[in-house]
Symmetry: C2
Subunit: 311 residues, 2 copies
């Protein structure tokens, strides 16, 4: 990288690299990070592409918040503490206003998630963002998706389906006669544009959970991943799904579809062993048992969810 | 990620995740890696976009080798040992043949660089690749670009300008009357398509070098970055530039321009303190001294090199 490109990166993205774990931030060939003693590194990369993961003309601030939350959600799902992130941004042109708005979203995430930005790459091309998040876990304590056991409860961290409803609103896909309060519309759209990586659950999960996955593709699909990887079955009770009050005005079928198959909430699905009291905010929606596959309301489900290369 | 997309990733990209440092590879929300004791993490992300960093219709194998070498080169420049990488691939469609060729390049890099692939994201969109490399250095021993001192020699690890010549050949930008031996053409093009990350230099650099940068934007530009960051000046002697025999048939001006400003070789520029004997393969091309800026053959140079958002 050179010249003006350097300046752009430093001006907009290079300001967010502080933190005691950051020994060397943006500006050299690589960043240098210190992990806590007796810990392992957790790493995950996620790409968001305009038109595939977010609508065209999405406010740049929201491109940042959505991309970073999606990646940071993987840290929560591994029960890892945030360490730092790198961000590779491809932009069609060098648009100062775009970058300014993007960095506002970025700055909010850096602060809220304690994820300093330690590396950046800015290239010219069709709009996309790749975020790589790094975290740390005490050695041997990362939570996998493959450790659920028969008898465990399937729980989720927050209301489901909001982001899918928000996306439907953003895309104008809902019947025009549908009346939604402005504050509900804002809430649902913000659940799509600014999802919350559930890092606040990491201490509880590390102490009590058996297995975790983040719900990026929809509850049914991600529960199936968890059940398959764990070699057991799971049954979900749709009546138990936590739904926000903002969804109350919507048709029941639509709501359930969003909550079961909407993949944009970035909540966590957690296998909690029997006997562990459920804290406030963690809602049981099903149970793991012997066998294979996922049932919802006693009916087997067909695999469903977002598949970029599916048919 | 779900369904067929999962299958594609596992079939093509999920096979390269072994290594004693890999506690958990591709397939969960995140990978888990163990660093050596008393070491720090080095991380760097690089994106390559079709049409910007490599010509359209580049063999997928070479998209992989070039993207990974470019990223791994940053580890060498920090004197870090390779640990692992993640790869975010954006593809216009789910092309099995494309992925097959891509994974051949990927596999070669994983083996040659000892960089297991521990995370993948495959999304639909215009072709681009973002590679994030992670490495480890003994605590406090990462080599920065900002530590060159007056009196240090500026050295490079291999011949310069080959990749720029290779790209000119690939793009058909050379006079048609120019006669080049087929083996020279192949050599030059392979220097563009399959650059070598100079990780074999890491042990020597850690022991003897003062400061390192990888030459991704051209010797002049990257030396200027090094001199600026170090608060000193540097003079380069063009007659000392190591040129490959494959370049011998080219015009002198062209050769020098490629060697000084061609940014695709991914060799290392190294500041070596006085008194340290230069090992075979490391060639002195200049010297750092008091002052600021970079001179070549006693003439100050204007900043030059590849700038994605430059004018």
């Amino acid at each position: 990288m050179a010249g003006r490109e350097f300046d752009l990166i430093y001006r907009h993205l290079g300001l967010f690299g502080a933190g005691s774990q950051v020994r060397l931030g943006v500006g050299d060939d690589g960043a240098v990070l210190a992990l806590p003693p007796n810990s392992e590194l957790v790493v995950s990369s996620d790409s968001l592409v305009e038109g595939t993961h977010f609508p065209e003309l999405t406010l740049p601030e929201y491109v940042a918040t959505r991309a970073i939350a999606a990646a940071a959600s993987d840290l929560a799902a591994m029960a890892a503490d945030p360490l730092a992130m790198t961000l590779a941004l491809t932009l069609p042109d060098s648009d100062e206003l775009w970058l300014h708005s993007f960095s506002q979203g970025l700055e909010r995430c850096v602060q809220a998630l304690a994820l300093p930005l330690v590396g950046g790459d800015l290239t010219r091309g069709p709009l996309s963002v790749t975020v790589t998040v790094m975290g740390s876990v005490p050695t041997g304590r990362a939570l996998r998706r493959s450790d659920a056991e028969p008898g465990d409860r399937l729980c989720v961290t927050h209301t489901l389906g909001d982001a899918a409803a928000g996306l439907a609103l953003i895309m104008g896909q809902l019947p025009s006669e549908l009346e939604i309060a402005l504050e509900d519309e804002e809430f649902l759209e913000s659940r799509f544009y600014q999802p919350t990586a559930r890092l606040e659950w990491v201490p509880w999960l590390r102490e009590h959970a058996r297995s975790v996955i983040d719900i990026s593709d929809g509850l049914l699909v991600d529960t199936e991943h968890m059940a398959d990887a764990s070699g057991c079955a799971c049954s979900i009770d749709s009546a138990a799904l936590p739904l926000s009050s903002a969804l109350s005005g919507f048709d029941q079928t639509l709501k359930l579809d969003w909550a079961l198959a909407g993949g944009d909430d970035y909540e966590l699905a957690v296998a909690v062993p029997p006997g562990v009291p459920l804290p406030s905010g963690l809602v049981q929606v099903g149970e793991f048992h012997e066998g294979s596959g996922v049932q919802c309301d006693y009916r087997p489900i067909a695999r469903k969810g977002f598949d970029h290369f599916g048919v």
